[in-house]
Amino acid sequence: MSTHPLLSVDHLRVEYPVRNRPPFRAVDDVTIAIGPRETVGLVGESGSGKTTIASAVLGFAPAAAGTIAFDGEDITGAARDRRRRLSASLQVVFQDPYSSLNPSRTIGKTLSETLRPHGSPSKSEVAEQVASILERVGLDPGAADRYPNQFSGGQRQRIAIARALIVRPRLVICDEPVSSLDLSVQAQVLNLLRSLQDELGLSYLFISHDLAVVRHISMRVVVLYRGRVMEAGPAAVVYNHPAHPYTRALLQSAPIPNPNLQRARRTSRQRSTPDLPSTVKPESCQFAPRCPWAVDVCREQQPPEELTSEGVFVACHRWREFAALPGGGADWSGPRLRL
């Protein structure tokens, strides 16, 4: 591995202005690093700031504090010209395959325009590249002459992936790329992303609300809640031995597709308080109001990020006690059970 990661997000803070009030911190003090050929999953519920992090990396949302570096070079607030050059290595796939393709442009035009900012290859070269990338994502090269409304959601998402990959980027940000797809198509797209990664040596920043999907595709996972990192570490460890109460709540809330196991799981599920206060003190644990283990210190102080023996960073005042709780740590094997 090289000395610096491919993408490193360092103590990033992103704020949105709110009328007559202090700005809303969508992302607060988030640090993420992605190495070459690595997939880092970003998981959290709505309002956790996962999409905002993607926007900041892509330059759509300005960073209020912290830095974003690509391949060792600081790109926080990079100028348009730098962004244009950056787009040769950094691309994006969005969630909604319907809104992400311009309905009035053919697939060929949509794909080839991505090549425009990077030199001007001849028409036949462009056509060749379009055809080869379409074939690679599993579509007929004849698709280039057709319009987006002739394709299903899954096919559109393949086209969106083709658009991102035609410039041979090094990092692709996948913002909920399979969330709006049906189960069978979701599996097809996940497999495609995997095989493209092996073949082209890609890195992914993979954003999803579905921990099972993130677990499947990622090597490392970052769990976000209200703009802060709750837990970050190797995917298997985070999934099988959640160190943070929030991660555990997420895992236990997702029903397992097995009636008997799910019935057993239901009885052990922790309840969290449903009615939430809209604001939480910035200098406290953001999860404290919903956390069944919260004590005074959780509501008064922001927990420090600590490293567990399994290589997981966890931001919880009580993670050591929590790990010792029955069902709270290593012996909790719910999701690993098979049919």
């Binding site: 994006v92 809104s99 309905p103 009035s104 900012p117 002739q150 397992i256 597709p257 049919l339």
Partner: protein, 641 residues
């Protein structure tokens, strides 16, 4: 996703590109007539001044033959100075059209780039442009044009350019507001992330999308410009005598209005017809532009009663809800398209039944058909829906209204959409209570609070006072369920009730539904694509594929031994079950859209067990085990595997 009108003609739909747009436009007779008329005007404007060069400088004609009515020598008569009206009308066409074109060019050149820039760039550009537009709006238009024309007497260019500048802010605002939503589209973000320049994005991505709006507005503006132009010519401000103009001819006629009223008719009628042609063309353009995506007008359940009496006419005993051989169609481009075919299942009292499948399989349409809420102009064209001794497939709208909300409640995927944003949520629940249960105002208020407490709200009073937009998604769904329960229903139909919610919130809602089913002995029919929800909630499952039921079973057997390859494939492709595997087992291909279902087994083309026989004959549903049915001739292979 699931509540939307099924796209019945996805495969057959032509693309929405520009060439198709003009073909669509020219399918309209009105558009053809208008275009032909305007083309004639353009032709005349080019030819007439060349063919009749003397008309422009003709000061007077036959003074003894002035003010004549139409005759063979003067087809439209003569004017006050004895000149031929027809030739003046034809020659005056050019100056009129030139004026309109000048005004239009100025409007478009100013308004389109400024509107695009203001809408797309936002920020300071937007503020400055909008401020300038507001300033222009406050100017007295007529006064300014007259002042300009007093500086540049009889200058058509100066007059119409001034009009163009004054009219531009209107179009600018239209362009700006059309650009705003497009700016938020993901394909614009994707183009920006690809490093494409702003000019490129504006001209290649945004401009084509707003072209329709601009064309409509331009044709309307042309009509207005024509009116202004003839008005100014009428005042002799634009065209110097003796050159003819339509407005000037009206002025000429007005001077002898009482003696020779005919004189104003030829120019007046021409002006009116031209303005009409421009406006009608604008309408036709708009209609053609929206034709591809506007939904057909909903026809009420008129056709429902035409359902053939194929099923029995007596209610079956036992189950609370019995759906028999239900078929649903939507009108397609050429013929009706079947979306649901021959679906039969039942729901016993207090039972939770799940309908599972992917989008386009007909599960949401089935649920909507039961309560007579089919989207668009969908209709039930076969089968019966027995509930409470009545066949809902043949029930009138009035009968359905009695059932809906009272004995059958419906909860949709989008809780926010189902609540009226203008009323407090407490009031909305009270309203349902008073309508369905006939409670007094005070009793309804108490009962509403009780219902909200049942939904596990900590402070029901505070929630009741809120408006829907003050609720989170999960809270809104709990309020929607509370309102659905107002009529104390025997059956709750929930269409993807947790799909739009976060997973921790989903767990709360599922828990709530299960609790309600247990405490109230309420039956639930839940439509979902999520096997986890099925495992958590359901007693029995119905799996749908391409409009048909392919498997019916109790919940445990379907997870343990799926008997249809589609069920097996769907279960296996869930990443929940294969966290370690490098590749997920997957079903190749996609669900065929309604209207292009293959012959024989509809899944055969994607099935790994398929043999030649599968694609030949329609497969009937059979029951290898008690209570476990499948529509597959090769289910034996699944049991072995």
């Amino acid at each position: 996703m699931s509540t939307s009108v099924p796209v019945v003609d996805r495969g057959a739909k032509p693309s929405g590109g520009n060439p198709r747009f003009f073909r669509r436009l020219l399918r309209r007779p009105v558009a053809i007539v208008c275009c032909a008329y305007l083309a004639v005007l353009v032709g005349v404007a080019i030819v007439a001044p060349i063919a009749m060069p003397s008309v422009n400088s003709q000061n007077a004609g036959d003074l003894f033959g002035a003010n004549q009515l139409p005759s063979w020598s003067h087809l439209l008569g003569t004017d006050t100075l004895g000149r031929d009206v027809l030739s003046r009308l034809l020659v005056g066409d050019r100056v009129t059209l030139v004026g309109v074109v000048e005004a239009l060019v100025v409007v478009l050149v100013l308004a389109v780039p400024l509107g695009l820039a203001a809408g797309y760039l936002g920020g300071w550009t937007d503020r400055v442009v909008t401020w300038l537009a507001d300033l222009t709006f406050s100017l007295p238009a007529v006064v300014i044009i007259i002042v300009v024309l007093s500086v540049f007497p009889t200058s058509m260019l100066a007059g119409m350019a001034t009009f163009g500048v004054i009219a531009a802010p209107g179009l600018m605002r239209v362009v700006r507001s059309a650009t705003l939503p497009i700016r938020e589209e993901l394909y614009i973000k994707a183009a920006e992330a690809s490093g494409l320049s702003r000019t490129y994005i504006l001209t290649r991505h945004i401009l084509p999308r707003i072209a329709g709006v601009v064309i409509v507005q331009a044709s309307l503006l042309a009509a207005v410009a024509l009116g202004v132009q003839t008005g100014l010519a009428f005042l002799k401000l634009l065209v110097a005598d003796p050159a003819p103009s339509w407005g000037g001819m009206v002025a000429d006629g007005t001077s002898v209005l009482l003696l020779h009223p005919w004189l104003i008719i030829p120019p007046g009628a021409t002006i009116a017809v031209t303005m009409l042609a421009l406006s009608l063309l604008g309408d036709a353009v708009r209609d053609a532009a929206v034709e591809s995506w506007s939904a057909p007008v909903r026809t009420k359940r008129a056709a429902a009663k035409a359902a053939p009496a194929s099923a029995g006419t007596t209610p079956p005993a036992g189950a609370l809800l019995t759906v028999q051989h239900l078929s649903v169609s939507f009108p397609g481009r050429e013929q009706d398209v079947r979306v649901v075919e021959d679906v039969s299942f039942d729901v016993a009292a207090g039972e939770i039944v799940g309908i599972v499948g992917e989008s386009g399989c007909g599960k949401s349409v089935t649920a909507a058909a039961i309560v007579g809420l089919l989207p668009g102009s969908g209709r039930i064209d076969g089968g019966s829906i027995w509930f409470g001794g009545k066949d809902l497939a043949r029930a009138s709208e009035a009968e359905l209204r009695k059932v809906r909300g009272r004995t059958i409640a419906f909860v949709s995927q989008e809780p926010m959409v189902s609540l009226d944003p203008a009323y407090r949520v407490g009031f909305q629940i009270e309203e349902a209570l008073r309508r369905h249960r006939g409670l007094s105002r005070a009793a309804a208020r108490d009962r509403a609070l009780e219902l909200l407490r049942d939904m596990h709200f900590v402070d029901p009073g505070a929630v009741a006072r809120r408006y829907p937009h003050e609720l989170s998604g999960g809270m809104a769904q709990r309020v929607a369920i509370a309102r659905a329960l107002a009529g104390e229903p025997e059956l709750l139909i929930a269409d993807e009730p947790t799909t739009a919610l976060d997973v921790t919130v989903q767990a709360e809602i599922l828990e709530l539904i299960r609790e309600l089913q247990m405490t109230r002995q309420m039956a639930v029919l839940v439509v979902t694509h999520d096997w986890g929800v099925v495992a958590d909630l359901c007693d029995r499952v119905v799996v749908m594929y391409a409009g048909q039921i392919v498997e019916r079973s109790d919940v445990q057997s379907i997870f343990d031994t799926p008997l249809h390859p589609y069920t097996e494939g769907l279960l296996a492709s869930n990443p929940h079950l294969e966290p370690e595997a490098a590749t997920l087992p997957m079903i190749p291909g996609t669900v065929p859209p309604p209207g292009s279902w293959p012959a024989g087994c509809r899944f055969s083309a994607r099935c790994r067990y398929a043999v030649a026989a599968c694609a030949e004959l329609e497969v009937a549903i059979e029951a290898p085990y008690q209570g476990h049915e499948t529509r597959c001739i090769r289910y034996g292979q699944l049991i072995k595997a």
